[in-house]
Every structure is written in C-alpha cells, then in structure tokens.
Symmetry: C2
Subunit: 334 residues, 2 copies
C-alpha cells in the first residue's frame, strides 16, 4: 500500500521531535525555536505532509468551513457565490456548497448542512422556517440570509432595500409619462419578491395611479418572456413593464421585440432589477436598479465573522440602498 496517509506522527519521527511540536509548527503557534521549526518543515516537505483540517476541527471546534445554500438558475447568484468564495478563501475559510430547488424551503437540507459542522451558514434564494432557525441557534451556527430576510426568525440578513427600489421604478415610469403600467412579479412568496412589488405599487397608489397590470414569473428568462407576451398581447397592452429581476427583463425585451414586433423603448419601456453584467450589453441595455453587491458581500462576511466570534450577538437586518441605472430600455422624462 503506497498511499498510506502521512500524519504528524510520521513527521515527528522523521524530524526527531514529538508530535506536539509538529502540531505547534503547523498551528502557526507559539514558542517553537527556529532550528526545530526548520527541521520539522523540512521533514514535512520530504514526506509531503499536509495537516488534516478535519481532524483539527475536532479539537478546535472550528471547521473553517462556511456553508452556502443557493440555487444557480438565476445568474445573479453565481456572481455572489464567486465573490463570497473568494473573500472567504482570503480569510482562510472554504465554501461548502449546497444546491436547492429555487425558493424551496431550506429545511430539508439543513440537517445535512449541520452535520458538516460549518462555522456559519449563508443562505441565498431560499427561506428558513423559524423552527430550523432555532435549531441552528441551539447548535451555535450563525446564519446570514443574503437577499432575503425573515422577521420572525432570529437570523441576520443582508438585503438590498427592495421597497425603495420598487418606489424608484414607479417614480421613474410615472415621471416619464407612461400611461399603462405593468409588473411582472416573482411567483415565490419571498421577502424580495414582496418588497419589490410593494414599493412599486405603494408608490403608484400614493401618486394616484391604480389598476396596473400584473403577471408572474419565477426569475427565469423563459417564464419572463411568456409573462411579457401575455401582457403585450392584450388589447390594452402596457407601455411600461417593471420586471422583478433582470433575467426576467431580458425575456420581456425579447418578447416585445421578437414575439410582438414592438420597439423598445418607443412602444414599451422595460425596467429590471439587479444590474447583471448582461444588463449593460447594448443588445439589452436595461434600465435597472443596481444592487450594491460588493457592499452586501462585505457586510455579510462582517456579520458572519462577528457572530462566529460572539455567537450571542443579536441578529441584525441590514438594508442597503439600490441605485437607479438609467439605460435605454425605458423612455425617460426629458
């Protein structure tokens, strides 16, 4: 058997020191003389020794693994995960990835996640029952919701201010003199979907506008395109559509142009939400609300680390403002 795993004992024997000393060298810890440190490192090098961090986690009670629960059908999330993973890596932590059905309750998979003794948990694109939240609480696993929040449960959340974002869009469309408004909402009952719609419709009502149209999609190109088709084939078709996310807006734009033969923005204005990279491409050039993703990521990690250090800390809800990005998919007030 050539592939016998090399342990700290092997290194110790080879370097002529005790296993404790090897451990000290690799924990970047205190009080090892330069001479022995060098001997140990040399021996480790020769043997190809890598410390077993899983074994280490047993005694330290820290795995340096962060769980991320997500689904990737909406291209918003890969960018988030990429950023999170990179930043975590720079902090010496790794990402254990769990994939769930879009907007499925995360409860099914949570027991599995907890078995891996992740130091903390980031949940995107899924929600968490308060029962499971308290299970995490009991086990001392901090949870941060990303782009979601849950008022009942004792978990932190980092979110774009979706209500204000919806209001900004309502203002933009009314100011530009649109007469017939519509919203393609998200189907799942998430805080994000609700808030974007709420901000939009509240502001419309405040400004005396009623009877906007409404369709649903599920944050995917195809269902967005279909929803837009239904709207645009009505006799009283809208002259402006606010889509719950950019990916839906792409579908809506293609529906308008290629399914219905309409011009954008002359015949119909389309507004999205997120500001995906693709939204800036000239083929779409989507007017949208930009989520402050970098700040959201930083804040998420900050909350995470704080609660890893002090698990007693009270959960926080952080709302960050989005920014209106004006491009050419919507007619503007002159």
């Amino acid at each position: 058997m050539p592939s016998k795993t090399i342990t700290s004992v092997d290194v110790a024997r080879r370097a002529g020191v005790s296993q404790s000393t090897v451990s000290r060298v690799f924990s970047a810890e205190n009080h090892v003389s330069e001479a022995t440190r060098a001997r140990v490192l040399a021996a480790a090098q020769e043997l190809g020794y890598q410390p077993n961090v899983l074994a280490r986690s047993l005694t330290t009670q820290q795995s340096n693994i962060i769980g991320i629960v997500t689904h990737i059908s909406n291209p918003f999330y890969p960018y988030i995960i990429e950023k999170l993973t990179r930043r975590l890596q720079a902090m010496g932590r790794q990402t254990l990835l769990f994939s769930v059905e879009p907007d499925q309750e995360v409860d099914d998979i949570l027991p599995l996640v907890l078995q891996y003794r992740v130091d903390a948990l980031i949940i995107t694109s899924a929600s968490l029952s308060s029962e499971m939240a308290s299970q995490c609480e009991r086990q001392g696993t901090p949870v941060v919701l990303f782009n979601r929040y849950a008022l009942g449960a004792k978990v932190s959340a980092v979110c774009c201010d979706n209500i204000e974002g919806g209001r900004l869009v309502a203002n933009l469309l009314l100011d530009a003199g649109h007469k017939r408004l519509a919203h393609i909402a998200g189907r799942a009952p998430t805080s994000t979907n609700r808030d974007r719609e709420k901000g939009f419709s509240d502001r419309l009502r405040e400004r005396g506008y009623a009877n906007w149209l409404r369709e649903e999609s599920d944050h995917a190109y195809q269902t967005g395109r279909e929803a837009a088709c239904r709207l645009l084939q009505r006799p009283d078709r809208p002259d402006a559509i606010f889509c719950v996310s950019d990916i839906v807006a792409f579908g809506a734009i293609d529906a308008a142009r290629y399914d219905c033969g309409l011009r954008i923005p002359e015949d119909v204005s389309i507004v999205g939400f997120d500001d995906l990279p693709t939204a800036a491409w000239p083929a779409y050039s989507v007017t949208t609300i930009r989520e402050p993703v970098n700040r959201m990521v930083e804040l998420t990690l900050k909350l995470l680390v704080e609660r890893i250090i002090n698990p007693q800390a009270e959960p926080v809800l952080e709302l960050l403002p989005g920014q209106l990005i004006k491009r050419t998919s919507a007619r503007l007030a002159e």
Copy 2:
C-alpha cells in the same frame, strides 16, 4: 453555556444504551434491533442530535466531500457546478468550492485542497502541473479534469472533442462560401483553447484555405468585443468569425452591430462554442457547438466514483463529440 454540542454519548445516555449502539444506528449499519433503534432515534430527536461527519471521516477515511476548483467569470461554469453539485448531493456527497484566477495554475491552491481530505477533486478552468498531480496520486486523491486534459499527468479528464468541433465550424463556414475567415482564440495555453483553434485551422488548411485572421481574448464578453472590433475595423475585414466560446461570440456580435454598424449574418457571420442558454435567445441566436454537458457531468462522476472505490485504476481521457447547432448568427450554405 446553552450551546454545548450534542454528541453520540449524550444520545446514548438518554436512550440508555452504549455509544457504540448510537453509532450503529446512525451508520445505517448492521444488527440493531428495531426496539433499540427506535429508542435511539427518539432520544436523538429530542436532543436535536446530528452526527458529526467530520469526526466520522477520521475513522472511515472518507469525508464524502468532493473538491471543485473553478472560476466563474465564464458563465459556462456555473451551470456545470450546479449540475455537479446536485448530482453529488443526490449521491450523499458535498461540494467544497475553490475559486482560482482564470486559467491560473491550480498548484498554489492544491495543498489547501488536500488539507480538507476531499475524496476526489474536479478541476475546471485550470490546469495542474504533473508534480502536483503526483502529489494527489501519492495522497490517494483521484483527480478529474473537466473540459481540460493533461497528457503528461496521470489524471483522468472529460472533455468535449474540441478538435472535431473546430473542424465542424471550419466546414460550416467554408461550405457557406465565406471568403475571409477569422478566429478569436483564447489567450491561455489550455488544451481547450489549443484544440478548438487546431481543429479549425487544420481543416482550413486541408481545404486549401490559408491566411485567416487571428485575435485573442480571454473567454470574457469585453475582451471578445474588443477583439472583434479590431478585426472588423480592418480594411480587409472578415466575413466570418469563429469565437473560442459563446461569451466571446456575444461580445463579437455586439461589436459588429453596435460598434461597427454591421448586419449579422449578412455582413459578417459569428460562430461560438459551448451553447450557453443565452446563445438561444433571439437577440443573439448564436450558431455554435453544443457541449454535451449532461453526459460530461455523468461521465465525470462515474470516473470519480470508480477511482474512489479503486484508486489504482488507470486514468482515462474521455472525449465526447459536440453538436453543431445552427442558428441565425451565421450565413449557411443553402
């Protein structure tokens, strides 16, 4: 301290059995009477016990964790990772995600990966020195390269047949009577980049065509767009461009339409590679080579599992044919 971790000993005490028995129940193992099994499960339920899989990995020598090394700037990879993660989850294994700079040598991060005692390693969008490959070999960690291969190293690889794909494109463009061909290649010296270019240019030469144009990009929209601009602003501008990947093709199409005022495919044909979902959207409608991603994913997992079971198995290189998908971004032979 309320958040004392619950261990199998706690469950054992509560259920009035030994720790061994608890362990047997949760290893879904042999020979536990129904009565005691029920008692143990009840006790576990009441205490909220979750077995610690990291501790388990110490004795079983299996972590059930699969490392995936990737970078996500090219949207091809999120889809792959999503699929891999889902399938792994269904097999009871989890994904530990490592992010690297595009096409960076993966050597820097590999020691870190090995510290997590992953059962196996999938590497996409990065290459592996043969020295590191043998380090994995020594430690008994099977490696599968996805969409890359390395002839020297003793690692398995699953790959689209990029050479044949390049040939298909060359045939398509010549058959349609294009007179002035160009290739936007990938900058990094990866097998994928090389093979796509090789298949394309070999076939051109075979058919007596020489002096095609060449530019480089790095599998990103922006650099693809810039490369296309350089080509299309030449006095002898090409009437067909083969792009190393779809994301580059999107940039090239926008360059043609919006930077150079050209019509597609009347003035210039654009062909991509990968068949991203976006390639089917009417705004782009990219003629492309579809990678058989589902079969590639299945094959990757099959190789992985085989080598986890039998680490002595010889490494394999699997080449799967791509499929030409004709859309409207390229003029076709009638």
